[in-house]
């Protein structure tokens, strides 16, 4: 499968049903009871899990290149993600690889929640 390197090329979409792997962590923001006390709908799926969804998309698209030295990922979490509420992960190439950028492709990634709002986003780079 060819890797996406042309500007505006799309990655994904990847549909994921989130799991809250830290729900048993009592007193944490992942615990339903504590999260509700703090004004959330329920326990939050760990942020690293949500950011990891975007790394997963990079792995699917770039394979070992994503795991090689020089790859980078800058991710931010904007909204809570809850267990069982499907999210969609997608990306767009914003800078194509060239001699000027050391053959590095730059991707903008996002995780869109079940209300069609961006819950997390990232910029990733990968040598190709």
């Amino acid at each position: 499968m060819p890797i996406p390197t042309e500007r505006e090329a799309k990655l994904g979409p990847l549909k994921i049903l989130p799991k809250n792997s830290a729900a048993e962590s009592k007193g944490s923001i992942h615990d339903d009871e504590k999260a509700r006390q703090m004004g959330y709908r329920g326990g939050l799926v760990p942020g690293v899990t949500v950011l990891g969804y975007m790394s997963r998309l990079m792995q699917n698209e770039f394979g070992p290149r994503w795991q090689a030295g020089g790859s980078s990922f800058k991710g931010r979490l904007r909204r809570p993600v809850y267990e069982g509420a499907e999210v969609t992960v997608e990306g767009t190439v914003v800078e194509a690889p060239s001699g000027e950028n050391d053959n590095t492709v730059t991707i903008e990634l996002k995780v869109i929640d079940s209300e069609n709002v961006v819950a997390a986003f990232a910029q990733a780079t990968c040598h190709v």
Binding site: K19, K34, G39, V48, R56, G63, Q67, K74
Partner: protein, 133 residues
């Protein structure tokens, strides 16, 4: 360790981790991923997403916060070694700040194996969360 004694530059207690097959499978189960994309020429390798989670034990074991919320991570990948690799996770407090009534802390986290740095992560969390209720 708390906001009074964890000033910028304060080191966090390092820990050793083995990225063995069981640990990788546990990570993939949590994230709902198949294992195939991480198999190269018959060898299982460390998923980069595992590095994002390396902060957990480092921070929760040393820096006191209860209902913390992760807000961002910046990851630089140097290498993803094969399953079975033993690594050391270390780090330090980088900065602390307040925004909109929430208290934030940023940590530097570094994962190294016998051959050098595997990944560096700058991780920011809210450690003093104002109620959203």
């Amino acid at each position: 360790m708390n906001e009074q004694n964890a000033r910028p530059g304060t080191p966090l207690t390092p820990y050793e981790v083995v990225y063995d097959r069981a640990a990788i499978e546990q990570y993939l189960d949590r994230s709902g991923e198949p294992i195939d994309p991480y198999m190269h020429e018959g060898e299982l390798t460390v998923p980069p997403g595992m590095y994002l989670g390396a902060y957990g034990r480092l921070i929760h074991g040393t820096f006191h916060y209860e209902a913390g919320v992760h807000t961002s991570s910046e990851l630089t990948i140097k290498k993803c070694p094969p399953a079975g690799t033993k690594a050391i996770v270390s780090g330090e407090v980088l900065k602390m700040f307040e925004r909109n009534g929430d208290k934030y802390v940023t940590f530097n986290v570094v994962v190294t194996d016998g051959g050098g740095v595997c990944a560096a992560i700058e991780h920011t969390s809210i450690y003093g969360l104002r109620s959203r209720a």
